[in-house]
Subunit: 413 residues, 2 copies
């Protein structure tokens, strides 16, 4: 059994430990919610100052050219690409994950339009709800009648995907359980039946190694404000591999997706390449801050981050199971490394109250219905000692029943 | 004929003149491009610092509740509402103008679905291109077959709107010419034929008085980064009047538009009220800065701003026509006050080169094909002396032919 001193020793040996200094984290907080909102890179404040005072305030309209604002979605996309196994010119950072998913779904359905028997979109009932809602929204508006098939268990996938399947749409790492799909095997399953597959990387980009090309993905979307530390609600991304770009058509055909946006022509002609996934003018201040998060990734590798992430989550699981064995905690996240994201979820009958007590003691995770306490582990700024201390506080709260089972539930946690 | 001293005198008497101090404008610049990117409110920098350092960096995930991030689209919408004749709970600040127009168009088409003969969307060929592109995008995806009818002249509207018209979609003030539609008369024309009318207020909100309810609009969208000074690419807005909210259905049905977003239910149920126009998580830093622009509007009235705007544009037209009479300049913007926005456009055979020379001398307007020089007048920070000096420099450039007709054209100006 490990000790706090052993954790301190591991931190001292950890080559990633110095990266924590690049984040601004408040004193007395153990932040295990980077899977919901990433911590703030220190560079974000001076970068915002540059964009607001210099680029906006001083250079004004010229900054669309001189500060490269117009090219920012593509430039940031190229910087993000290596983290997910994408290539130059295949990713743009733009809009929200929901809107990008709509584009991807609409384009995928259109690519399958030549096979009119393919009218089913498959996803999981446990998927992040907005993904399901967007698929519902699209299906309702396509008059030829698409049907959403929600599966309840991963084991159903193989049986569900068939000649009627147009698109399989999955979130690679589940937001609630931390379960990680086998992207390669599942993509192959979809392709064997002639279906296309879209991956939502909201809980994967910057969290686990992703290799979209090697693993046979068709389209992907994701988020920059979780593990990538882009800032609250920072613009999302969409990936369209070069092999699909010529066929990629989406209904949100705004001027940023036009072949010649400044010709002001009255008819739409899609841009060549990834720019056709763009739509309207982007929120530049929020967009620019995404780069501060990506800069930090340049200083390490996804392999190193993954090794530490697994070490942190292994340690957390082991310590909770050893030290809180007397309490009704249920591990939801897979023990198998290949199936685990960068979070650990435990159920507890009073999960909401226990999480509220943890937060009050400075251990910030979050709660998701039903009864699930989520703990996100970001190897860029989480230490082994943080894990020890978090479990220590959790045990103390459970041992003393120091939580209020009538705690008021906030709208958002 | 007026003089520079007379302009100085007008500025000294101008009750709006002190508002200029609330903007950060570079020395030596006369900024006549606030119709493209509004100037920076001084308050934007400290507000960004608060959001980034305090709300994001220190309070982290809790800020969704404690800093009111989740309610920001509605709260800012309520603050913007009085500027456009909207009511509380009818406006949200969110997404881009293009995306909001897609929602509005889709919802309007859906409201007309009971009348299957209505399959035409009418707009102007001279509309801002993205509006046309979004209508094209939607029409292409609606399989029952909608047709876009582009009119070439306002006079055609009355003849074009008929029993086949589902929706009339117009930009209230034209981005290129500064022509302002008669919202009341045109809305009445649409309604008389049973059509719905959507107004794009990109060049109206904060620029001219707008009274959506009194003038019979059905739906509206608009922009916060032009006259409203919200920051580069700041989120746009959408207005759904209470009378249409129950029928307002749109396909971008993301989790922020759900009746209970945190219940994480696997089926979509639209929120009551304006929240159903929301979709995904918003870029909070850019969104928060919108408030700094709105704060300044609280210190004056649209009536006072309109009076000064007309005085500025009248003065600019008169001075250009008097002092540059020898040059081939053509006024594009209506002389009639009721038909004029808050900009003045002149054609010149070498419009691009002349504008480049103006910009090099610190007079920042912009250029739009074909041959149009645009000058935007923002009464919050533009003085009568600015107008005098801008015309003085324009005359000097034209008199000396001090412009390079081979000037390289930037992608964006």
């Amino acid at each position: 059994m490990t000790t706090r001193n052993a954790c301190l020793e591991r931190d001292a040996q950890d080559p990633l430990a110095p990266l924590r200094a690049q984040f601004d984290l408040p004193e007395g907080v153990i932040y295990l919610d980077g899977n919901s909102l990433g911590a703030r890179p220190r560079a974000a404040l001076p970068r915002a100052q540059q964009v607001i005072a210099r680029e906006w305030g001083h250079d004004l309209i010229r900054s669309w050219n001189t500060a490269g604002w117009f090219d920012l979605p593509k430039r940031l996309g190229n910087r993000l690409a290596p983290l997910i196994g994408a290539r130059d010119g295949e990713v743009v950072v733009t809009d929200t994950t929901s809107v990008n998913l709509f584009k991807a779904l609409a384009a995928a359905v259109q690519m399958q339009a030549g096979q009119p028997q393919r009218r089913v979109i498959i996803t999981e009932r446990s998927n992040f709800p907005t993904d399901i809602y967007m698929a519902e929204g699209l299906s309702r508006w396509l008059e030829r009648g698409y049907r959403l098939h929600l599966i309840d268990d991963v084991a159903e996938l193989a049986g569900a995907i068939n000649q009627e399947t147009a698109v399989v749409m999955l979130t690679h790492v589940n937001y609630r359980t931390g379960y990680q799909h086998d992207m390669r095997a599942t993509s192959a399953l979809a392709h064997a039946a002639g279906a296309l597959i879209i991956w939502d990387l909201a809980h994967s980009a910057g969290a686990v190694p992703v290799d979209l090309h090697a693993d046979g993905a068709d389209l992907a979307v994701g988020c920059t404000y979780k593990y990538l530390n882009g800032g609250p609600g920072a613009p999302a991304f969409i990936w369209v591999p070069e092999r699909h770009q010529a066929q990629f058509q989406q209904p949100l055909s705004g001027w940023w997706g036009h072949a010649a946006p400044f010709a002001m022509a009255p008819a739409f002609a899609p841009a060549e390449g990834i720019a056709r996934a763009l739509c309207g003018t982007q929120p530049i201040v929020s967009l620019a801050l995404v780069e501060c998060g990506l800069d930090i990734y340049d200083q390490t590798s996804m392999a190193a981050l993954r090794a530490k992430s697994l070490a942190l989550t292994d340690l957390f699981i082991a310590l909770v199971e050893q030290r809180c064995a007397a309490h009704p905690l249920g591990l939801v996240t897979p023990r198998e490394h290949a199936r685990r994201g960068s979070q650990v979820s435990f159920t507890h009958p009073h999960g909401y109250a226990v999480m509220a007590a943890l937060i009050a003691r400075g251990v910030i995770g979050d709660y998701r219905e039903p009864a699930i306490m989520r703990f996100g582990f970001t190897p860029l700024y989480t230490s082994f000692t943080d894990v020890w201390d978090a479990v220590d506080i959790l045990c103390d709260i459970l041992d003393k029943q120091a939580y209020d089972i009538h705690a008021r539930r906030d709208a958002v946690t």
